[in-house]
């Protein structure tokens, strides 16, 4: 899946469900309260699809699992791993311990898949290569998401950015291949260093199916700088879905969406936290 035609133009994002919101803690808590049960979140997913969103971009949490069970749909995009949860676990057990904790919680089917992936990645796992370790983590997280099938898997920004910091070309190349073959969907990367990532992908000649990153009129989180990022965005052959459209609440969603589209973003990821009314909010974006 590399043709731009199959990459969504609009996804509903669920980052705020993890407690992460540039708009602040109160906003994140409001979203968490509003979608505290899976049925309510499933209704939001259905409403988003009704308003033109081609899917949802979500990480594995208990409420997301419930929602996907209620409204499986076809447009589930997995944002893996659930980094805040992993970080919390690693504060106690360390980075490796947090992974072991997940293995212990896994069912037999997941363990079997994990074993297969482990065997096929054995040399790189033994060598401590990130390109071999992350697929194991994705197996665990995918099982935790509970989706029967996904349209694609997007690697969460903190992991992407660690590999980007080390300029680990083979990591990106391998993850694309692994996700496509193992999960049968598109392979994408979320990043908070969009300009750097697009430049690196261009230099390396790699084309993941999509990249998700911040684009907004205020330049918030636009690295290495807003101008450099926009220049990369214009010349990128990889479709980019823009997020952080509202720059932490500094601009309206419509303004952020218009800016991203004008500067060459292929599509948008609009977070639940940016939508008081999911259906109306997304419909308004479609009409513009």
């Amino acid at each position: 899946m590399s043709a731009n035609g199959s990459v969504p133009r609009l996804l509903l994002g669920g980052e705020t469900l993890l407690g992460l919101s540039r708009a602040g803690r109160e906003s994140a808590q409001g979203v968490a309260r509003r979608y505290a049960d899976g049925a309510g979140l499933a209704r939001a997913f259905t409403a988003a699809r009704g308003a033109g969103a081609e899917g949802v971009l979500v990480s594995p949490t208990s409420v997301v699992r419930q929602a996907l069970a209620h409204a499986p749909g076809n447009g589930t995009w997995a944002l893996l791993p659930n980094v805040p949860e992993y970080v919390r676990d690693s504060a106690d057990a360390g980075l490796v311990g947090a992974a072991v904790l997940r293995v212990k919680r896994s069912g037999p089917v997941t363990l079997a898949r994990l074993a297969m992936t482990g065997v096929t990645h054995a040399p790189s796992v033994l060598a401590g290569d990130f390109a071999g370790l992350v697929p194991l983590l994705l197996e665990l997280e995918m099982a935790s998401l509970g989706a029967r099938r996904v349209a694609g898997v997007v690697l969460a920004a903190p992991i992407t950015d660690l590999a980007l910091a080390g300029r680990h070309r083979r990591f990106f190349e391998h993850l694309c291949g692994f996700v496509r073959s193992r999960f049968g969907g598109a392979a994408g990367f979320e990043t908070h260093n969009l300009g750097h990532l697009l430049a690196a992908l261009r230099e390396w000649g790699l084309k993941p199916d999509l990249v998700v990153g911040p684009v907004n009129p205020r330049g918030l989180l636009m690295k290495p700088s807003a101008d450099e990022l926009l220049a990369e965005l214009h010349r990128s052959p990889v479709p980019v879905l823009a997020k952080e459209l509202r720059a932490g609440g500094a601009v309206s969603l419509a303004e952020g969406a218009r800016f991203a589209r004008e500067h060459g973003a292929h599509g948008l990821v609009v977070d639940l936290g940016d939508l008081d009314d999911v259906e109306a909010g997304l419909r308004a974006l479609q009409m513009r």
């Binding site: 803690r25 805040p84 106690d92 290495p224």
Partner: protein, 656 residues
């Protein structure tokens, strides 16, 4: 002038083309497979090959001169070397004649001057004769060992060897004289050859201004890269035999007979004609290798016109000690600061080193700082290990005179922190501490507003720091006071103590109570800090409250002119009257309203800005707000809080 360049994607070509463009020439690059990776209105890429005469008939017409760089070494096989170096040169010379191009600059090699030649030297010698009898206005250049600060070529190859191997293999005794010449000098000469008639019809040996042995060159390079390595010598005769055998059986042998001959057989060269005919400031090895440490170790460059961002004022190499979560964060950020290269990663656990290397960082791992210092001397050390080893590690670096960045808090005990500070002061070594909130733009803006007196004389402060992290028994060094120095305060809210110290100064006394909920260290602490002027700061912290997936810092200061509230989300002010440039009434500043100068993001801008700010300081910039004095004062307040809590809330006075 329009110039056709063959071999544009090679080491020389990549450097020459930008220079030609800068000098105003139009460039047509003969591209076989790899483009030079450049875009420019005056750069035209033409698909072709020196072995394909028809393609040259498309590439040559319309140019005024040809620079023939395309070459094949003997490692690509004798047949390929002959085809490219002889037939390719003949094809290009013929094409020049056919299309009326007079000026032809040919780069050959000093290998053609040796008494003994391999396939490369022999074929280039034949090519020299072809050029010399072409009837064109030709110039042949024979550069010696060409080096540069690019990420390819000889230096990159030697740097990779120095990084990967504990010792440097040298063919033969390494005592053959060489005259390394900088890439820029070769390009400068080529550019002159294009426009000067007086040099036509001549062959020049291009030698650098210093002659030395290969051994000395490797040692100088290792010194510049901060990687001292012993050399070991491989018998020249045996290597020549081996290269010859490999050349017969391998399509692309790792070493060619020409490589070996170059190491054991002196070239018969004369640099005087080139120095006479091209009067210029030839680059000395010291100049040529200057700044190499960062570049060859993979430091990033900043494009022209990029917005200002803190960075070291000269290239630096740093070490990161302790490769847990903080070590990982600092390594990732440091690797993306322009002008900064990571010289080594240090951790006693090999698995930790392996994990970082597995993330793509191509730097040496050492089990201890001593091991690293024996191999190379970094310009700065970042101590990211558990708190109880901050002092011994920092001590080693300070004793060696190396600036130290210590993750917060300064140490796990006040005694260690004071010892560290005393040594750093005695030695005059810069030390800063990782109180990263000092670099978050919104907290900086709040500090500036308070310093401008916007809220007037202080009445009181409420402050808190919360995180949802500890909800059951925990293990690991963070939950062991003998290693971390305490619980939530030592590990988390020393950040808040720093902010309070930075904004309001040191307390005169503290009263604190703490609770252990899940482990042997405090999970919550409440305190009142009384300032010298009498105002009180209420301080609340816990890592055992729900609803805070991210740490949440909040400071609310009330003064006679109003209130200021700051958190990661916003800076809010409600002022009775305008003061310090802030308007009367309620105003809100969001992070998006402030500059965000970091060039790489990892958990916010703070890590990048504090690391880059520290490196700016140690290379001559202004001191950071997180220096030794304030870090020590925070440690004293933390110690006082713990003593008060241990004494069930007894008031503890702090020395002024």
């Amino acid at each position: 002038m329009n110039v056709l360049v063959s071999g544009p994607a090679g080491f020389l070509g990549r450097a020459l083309i930008p220079r030609l463009l800068r000098e105003g020439h139009g460039v047509r690059a003969l591209v076989r497979r790899t483009s030079p990776g450049l875009e420019h209105p005056r750069l035209q890429l033409v698909s072709g090959d020196v072995l394909d005469a028809a393609s040259l008939d498309r590439a040559v017409p319309g140019v005024d001169a040809i620079v023939h760089l395309a070459t094949a070494s003997a490692r690509e096989g004798s047949d390929v070397a002959r085809a490219v170096n002889v037939d390719g040169t003949r094809n290009l010379v013929d094409a020049a004649r056919r299309h009326g191009v007079r000026r032809f600059v040919f780069t050959s090699t000093i290998s053609t001057t040796r008494a003994r030649m391999g396939p490369y030297g022999r074929t280039k010698r034949i090519a020299e004769d072809l050029v010399a009898t072409s009837g064109l206005d030709w110039v042949t250049l024979r550069p010696s060992l060409v080096y540069g600060s690019a990420d390819t070529g000889l230096v990159a190859m030697l740097a990779a060897t120095l990084r990967k191997l504990p010792a440097v293999p040298v063919i033969g005794r390494g005592d053959v004289a060489i005259d390394p010449i900088h890439l820029d000098d070769v390009c400068a000469v080529i550019c002159q050859c294009l426009v000067r008639d007086d040099v036509a019809g001549r062959t020049y040996d291009l030698l650098g201004p210093e002659q030395m042995t290969f051994n000395a060159f490797v040692d100088r390079l290792g010194e510049k890269l901060g990687m001292k390595r012993p050399r070991f010598h491989l018998p020249g005769g045996l290597m020549l035999l081996g290269a010859s055998v490999l050349g017969r059986f391998m399509k692309s042998p790792p070493i060619s007979t020409d490589n070996v001959i170059g190491m054991i057989s002196p070239a018969r060269v004369d640099g005087a004609p080139a120095r006479r005919d091209f009067p210029m400031a030839w680059t000395t090895l010291e100049q040529g290798l200057g700044g190499l440490g960062a570049a060859a170790n993979g430091a990033q460059a900043v494009p022209e016109g990029a917005p200002p961002s803190p960075r070291p004022r000269r290239p630096v190499r740093v070490a990161v000690v302790g490769l847990g979560k903080m070590g990982l964060a600092h390594t990732s950020v440091l690797a993306n600061i322009p002008g900064c290269a990571i010289a080594g990663l240090v951790d006693p656990t090999k698995a930790s080193g392996k994990r970082l290397l597995g993330m793509g960082h191509k730097v040496p791992w050492y089990a201890s700082l001593d091991d690293m210092l024996a191999a190379c001397r970094p310009d700065a050390v970042f101590v990211c290990s558990p708190q109880h080893v901050h002092w011994p590690i920092a001590k080693r670096a300070i004793e060696a005179g190396i600036p130290v960045f210590v993750e917060k808090p300064l140490a796990h005990t006040l005694a260690d922190a004071e010892a560290l500070a005393a040594l750093a002061r005695a030695k005059g070594v810069p030390v800063a501490c990782g109180y990263t909130l000092a670099y978050w733009p919104v907290f900086v803006a709040a500090g500036e507003a308070l310093a401008a007196g916007v809220i007037g004389p202080l009445r009181g402060v409420r402050s808190s720091m919360y995180l949802s992290q500890v909800f059951g028994p925990k293990q690991g060094w963070m939950y062991d006071a003998t290693r971390s120095g305490g619980g939530v305060v030592a590990n988390l809210s020393s950040h808040l103590l720093f902010l309070l110290e930075w904004y309001f100064g040191s307390p005169a006394s503290v009263v604190a109570t703490a609770r252990r909920l899940h482990s042997s260290v405090e999970d919550e602490l409440s305190a009142v800090l009384q300032l010298q002027g009498g105002a009180e700061i209420r301080f609340e912290t816990s890592w055992s409250v729900p609803g805070y997936p991210l740490s949440d810092v909040r400071v609310e200061a009330e003064g006679e002119n109003g209130r200021l509230t700051v958190s990661a989300e916003s800076l809010e002010m409600d002022l009775h009257e305008a003061r310090g440039g802030c308007p009367a009434g309620r105003s809100v500043v969001l992070p998006a309203d402030l500059p965000h100068p970091a060039r790489f993001e990892l958990n916010g801008e703070g890590y990048y800005l504090e690391d880059a700010g520290f490196l700016d300081w140690v290379t001559g910039g202004p001191p950071p707000p997180t220096g030794l004095d304030i870090a020590l004062r925070v440690q004293r307040t933390m110690d006082a809080l713990y003593r008060s809590a241990a004494a069930c809330g007894a008031r503890v006075e702090l020395a002024p």
